[in-house]
């Protein structure tokens, strides 16, 4: 495949076009992944997540600058939400990264969620693979602005940064389950604002408590303060990110986590394939009729599911 050949020789435009093919689920996208898959698995994938307006894009911009100082090549994937009504999207994360647009060793691509929940888009994982095969040393994945429960980034990234900013609620918010639990590094951004020290302290206390409970867990999430607009704290952040990768390698967790993620991905793919297959073998209109029956309360959702599954077994 011509595009794959170009991608493997480092052609940025082939990468851009292949990501489009993946996003649009074109027939040759799958073949492309098959061909590039042996060439992936080299890049360090870093996830950046946090609430809207917490400064994710600005922090990514500052991270790119630091990585470039170390001569690392960088790929960035920024995910923004699609409208549930029109399907349109404003992809505006790049606006913070203008300094790097003409740097040949930085590739930035914006993706719309296209209906996916969980903070990423369906194409994100394959987009990471494409940038990996393109030869980027580091791939930064910026999620949509997240709330409490969009944690898909753990399935895609080696190192996860969760951003918090002062003024977003009290310590009860910090105790809640979900997004803060997935952090390898907790970043308090906009740390020049009032309340930053208090937030950092509360996050540290949370981490300390959780860490005592699980004595076997060796990596203790670190709390770092940054002012991304001024590049304050970013060098320390990059250093910590690199230390985390070393830890993953030495503890064998890199491999263990990778296996877990592959397992989850395969289950998701089989799931999706099965559903499409099932809906495909149903006679035209049967599905709609079944839905109608449930709406009219002639049948309950579980019995309807059984009826659909019967088709699978009889096929």
């Amino acid at each position: 495949m011509e595009l794959v050949k170009r991608l493997l020789s480092g052609d940025m435009r082939a990468a851009a076009r292949l990501i489009t093919h993946i996003e649009n689920e074109l027939p040759d996208a799958r073949e492309a992944i098959r061909l590039i898959y042996p060439h992936t698995g080299k890049a360090h994938v870093i996830g950046v997540t946090g609430s809207p307006g917490s400064g994710k894009s600005t922090l990514v911009d500052s991270m790119i600058t630091e990585f470039r100082k170390k001569d690392k090549t960088v790929g960035v994937i920024c995910v923004d939400p699609s409208s549930p009504f029109t399907g349109g999207a404003i992809l505006g994360d790049r606006i913070r990264m203008g300094n790097h647009f003409t740097d040949k060793d930085v590739f930035i691509r914006s993706l719309a969620t296209r209906g996916a929940l969980g903070g990423l888009s369906k194409a994100t994982k394959d987009a990471i693979r494409i940038l990996d095969a393109l030869g980027k040393d580091v791939i930064i994945v910026e999620t949509v602005g997240t709330g409490q429960d969009e944690v898909d980034i753990v399935k895609a990234a080696h190192t996860v940064l969760v951003l918090s900013v002062p003024g977003f609620g009290d310590e009860i918010q910090i105790m809640k389950a979900g997004i803060l639990e997935i952090a390898d590094i907790l970043v308090v951004n906009k740390a020049d604002r009032d309340g930053a020290d208090k937030l950092a302290l509360e996050l540290t206390l949370m981490v300390d408590l959780g860490h005592e409970e699980k004595a076997d867990q060796k990596w203790k999430p670190l709390v770092l303060k940054t002012v991304a607009t001024k590049n304050i704290g970013t060098p320390e952040l990059i250093e910590t990110i690199e230390r985390h990768l070393q830890y993953l390698k030495s503890s064998n967790l890199l491999e263990i986590n990778h296996k877990k993620n592959i397992e989850r991905e395969i289950i998701e793919l089989v799931n999706e394939h099965l559903i499409n297959h099932l809906l495909g073998i149903m006679k035209e209109g049967d599905f709609e009729k079944l839905i109608e029956k449930i709406v009219e309360r002639e049948i309950d959702p579980y019995s309807a599911t059984d009826e659909i599954l019967k088709k699978l077994y009889s096929n």
């Binding site: 409208s83 349109g88 790049r94 003409t102 914006s110």
Partner: protein
């Protein structure tokens, strides 16, 4: 599986022009028309715009300029795209464009060239029609 193909459009403001209200309104309108809109802010060089267009693999680059430099900057963007073998990327423009400048820009493939007061639907239709014809090859 069928999928709904999305138009990807880059809205860009080249050069020394901070008047982005029109560009922002257009971003919103394109979004509401179901497009995926990449916006990179003001004060972009043609080189930055073209790199963004290529990395984002957009169908359309929509340029907005109100400072009078459109006869330099619009063709420069188009030229850079051609140099990078991306002449199939559609370039549209708009802003304050005097009537007598339009034929030359259109000759170079830069179309639309709408000014203040244009109905949003007119602009959206123009973009959709060009994409269908030139990118998707649907007449």
């Amino acid at each position: 599986m069928s999928y709904e193909r999305k138009i990807r459009i880059l809205v860009a403001k080249p050069g020394l022009d901070g008047h982005d209200r029109g560009a922002l309104v257009l971003c919103h309108a394109f979004r509401d028309a179901g497009m995926e809109v990449i916006y990179t802010g003001i004060l972009q060089t043609p080189e930055q715009i073209v790199e963004t267009a290529l990395q984002e693999d957009v169908d359309v680059v929509a340029l907005s300029l109100l400072n009078g430099a459109h006869m330099t900057l619009f063709p420069r963007v188009r030229q850079l795209l051609i140099e990078r073998n991306a002449e199939d990327t559609i370039v549209c423009g708009g802003g304050i464009i005097p009537e007598h400048h339009k034929p030359e820009l259109i000759r170079q493939g830069i179309t639309g060239l709408y000014g203040p007061g244009t109905l949003l639907d007119v602009i959206i239709n123009h973009v959709v029609e060009r994409v269908k014809k030139e990118r998707w090859k649907i007449a």
